[in-house]
Amino acid sequence: MIIDKIELSGFKSFAEKTLLQFHKGITAIVGPNGCGKSNIVDAVLWCIGARNARNLRARVMEDVIFSGSEEKRPLSMAEVTLFFLNDGKLFPTNLKEVEEFSVTRRLYRSGESEFLINNSPCRLKDIAELFMGTGLGEGGYGIIEQDKVNWLISAHPRERRTLIEEAA
């Protein structure tokens, strides 16, 4: 599957609704230190089912909701929607026939969460299962975060094993 669009709204530093369009081939995301590039990676990890706030540099999940800046007050909800295209190699077997699908995750400051596949409510578990075996989950090989390279070399051999298990 390939990513067609990412829509972020209230997620970390993306206070305003922002749409990122992607295509086949190589897309580079650039900008100064602290402008929000790695936050986009966090948004993808979060939307496809991240459970551990620490993998997103947060202490608690609530930290991913825009917490305000000197120019804007905090928001009460974070939402990320990922739009995928089927490039013929779609892993989620129950979606093998579709040409495109979307996944949405919302978190309210009250602590409530909402999860949607193709705009239909579902559980976090359903989203996470959709991405099993794609290498895109936490600890997978499809998303290489800023620290993963160092981690792989200094990791304990048993920890490294999980990378291969994810692929098996």
């Binding site: 922002t18 990122l20 295509h23 081939g25 190589i26 900008g31 499809g142 390279v149």
Partner: protein, 151 residues
Amino acid sequence: TSQRFVETYKKVRESFKELFSRLFDGGKADIILSDENDPLNSGIEIIAQPPGKKLQNINLLSGGEKALIAISLIVSLFIIKKGSLCIMDEIDAPLDDLNITRFTQLLKELSNMTQIILITHNKRTMEVADILHGITMEKSGISKLVSVKLS
């Protein structure tokens, strides 16, 4: 599943050896099971010998060499699983000019079968992108998409 793990491990191993020799322009490397008799639980050791050097504990290698080895291993998994999407966040940071060239060549080849989303500060890595998304924040504390350049 012990069977499947061992099969995947063997394919990744072949791909890793090949990719290492390509990115290092020679030398040899391997990933081995810490305990061959217990593939179901065994850890994975990485051994690597850049060209001209003697085989040593991987920790003695340099920052850039370690990064290239990790990239070889992760991309090998990718190639074996025919992954369609790969997101890389500043993995080119420790690489010198020559290794950036080898890395970007690899990206161009991978991009035929894979969608690659890269975060980078490196101008030469940016040059191989088909599309550039610029993110900005200035002092507002709010991230904005400012430009989408097609190469």
